[in-house]
């Protein structure tokens, strides 16, 4: 990966950044896919412009010292379409997405903001339903929405509703969770079935619709994380694999910690219906989004106890060990296939698209 020049002025004429965005001078859909293009946009366009001393800009949330308290702070925007999908809505995602980002730092999420961007002409009853779901999700997650904003844009500019939430929570002492903290020997644990949310969304997406009973797994993970922290405050890395899926999250941690990750494909908890949906669309479950799952990197001595604690919690009942951190191939994730051979699990480029070949 090219090194970025943090702090250099962003010069659109001459691109001082050593590895300029090569693909396109305009924004393309791939930039939002959560894969390599999104990462490049952040690293080569946003970070140089925003350069500051905070070290953990690439984690799910930022952990900051403020007047002696350690506060986790996170934001997320929600542009999902359709607004209501099997098992959830943009309102649920907006709350749980930010709650989960905070929980991945070990914080207890406390307060949220909610910014609405509404397209002119949107049915007010739709806005009302979204707000109701947002409120219900906040109560279920044990957080309060304490501030917000509303803007309206012209017809044709908003896809109905766009939402942004930001949240804060306190990080307990002795907790230092981050993507750079994985170590060789760590055990990789996933909290349950993967690929569920992505399949639920795709089943109602224009041009791809299919019938299925899969419901999004959208859920707040702060309770699960608290149960894990009860076993040990020294969890190394946590991530909720949303866009880009588990494969992307594992790569991010492998790179940030400079360790190799070895996965046992046979141990990945993929429900049959996700396997089948992916088979007929030509997708890989490792890159399909989740909204109520986490992956944890845990010291080997703590792994068994943490796994048991997860399994006792309703959102971790199907938790499973899927791999380990190894000294070989640092920064790379490699999977052992069901036949005993190996393959690299890379970061997807942009969005995963259905294929015919």
């Amino acid at each position: 990966m090219a090194e970025q020049v943090v702090g250099a002025a962003l010069d659109f004429e001459g691109w001082t950044c050593p590895l300029p965005l090569r693909d396109s001078p305009t924004v393309v859909m791939g930039h939002g896919g959560g894969g390599a293009m999104s990462a490049e946009l952040i690293e080569h366009l946003f970070l140089p412009a925003l350069a500051n001393e905070a070290p953990e800009l690439l984690g799910d949330s930022a952990v900051l010292d403020l007047g002696g308290a350690r506060i986790a702070f996170s934001t997320d925007s929600f542009v999902v379409r359709p607004l209501f999908f099997p098992g959830g809505s943009i309102g649920d995602l907006a709350v749980n997405g930010t709650v989960n980002d905070l929980a991945m730092s070990g914080a207890t999420p406390a307060y949220l903001s909610a910014g609405f961007i509404l397209e002119e002409g949107t049915d007010l009853s739709v806005v009302g339903r979204v707000a109701e779901r947002l409120g219900a999700a906040a109560r279920a997650a044990g957080v309060s929405v304490v501030t917000g904003d509303t803007k309206v844009v012209d017809v044709g500019h908003g896809d109905g509703i766009y939402l942004n939430t930001a949240g804060i929570g306190l990080v307990p002492g002795g907790v230092d969770i981050g993507p750079h903290r994985a170590r060789v020997g760590d055990v990789v644990i996933v909290s349950g079935d993967i690929g569920v949310h992505g399949v639920a969304i795709m089943s109602v997406r224009d041009g791809l619709e299919f019938g299925t009973e899969v419901l999004s797994d959208c859920a707040p993970l702060s309770g699960l994380v608290a149960a894990m922290l009860d076993v040990t405050p020294d969890l190394h890395a946590l991530r909720d694999p949303t866009r880009g899926g588990l494969g992307t999250s594992l790569n991010e941690i492998a790179r940030a910690s400079e360790v190799g990750v070895e996965l046992d494909e046979g141990k990945l908890p993929v429900p049959d219906v996700v396997t089948n949906a992916c088979a007929f669309l030509g997708l890989d479950p490792l890159y399909v989004a989740n909204e109520g799952k986490l992956v944890a990197f845990v010291a080997p001595g703590d792994a068994e106890a943490v796994l048991e604690a997860m399994r006792r919690h309703p959102l971790g009942a199907d938790a499973a060990v899927i791999g380990t951190c190894v000294p070989e191939h640092p920064g790379m994730v490699v999977a052992r296939t069901g036949f005993g051979a190996t393959r690299v699990v890379d970061v997807p480029i942009g969005e995963q698209l259905p294929r015919i070949c």
Partner: protein, 109 residues
């Protein structure tokens, strides 16, 4: 090319005078055009590519193929591989890398 998967026909119907089916791919159902296999009925399995059934899956053939694979290991265990067998029959030394025949009772693998 040719990502085509087998699925089970749940129901057949017509659209624009063209035979169609609802096909189940193991928890995922999709509307599929049956124009190329119009004799398909419910409970048949079809091979589907980009929303079209291209052929009915020959279930007996599938079972026969799997049975052939299962027997492969057992036959080898009982008789040794076929090169070794051929060598034995010809009274020649066994080629390098071939297995000795197992004992008379075949071991299950």
């Amino acid at each position: 090319m040719c990502l085509a998967v087998p699925g089970k026909v749940l129901a057949t119907w017509e659209k624009d005078e063209t035979p169609m089916a609802t096909v189940d791919f193991g928890g995922v159902t999709k509307e599929v055009c049956l124009a190329y296999v119009p004799e398909t009925t419910s409970d048949d399995y079809v091979i589907v590519h980009v929303g079209f059934a291209l052929q009915r899956l020959d279930e007996q053939s599938a079972l026969d193929t799997l049975e052939l694979f299962r027997q492969m290991g057992e036959l080898d265990a009982e008789f040794g591989d076929h090169w070794g067998r051929a060598a034995d029959q010809a009274g020649l030394p066994r080629p390098a890398g071939t297995a000795e025949p197992a004992s008379a009772t075949p071991e299950g693998r």
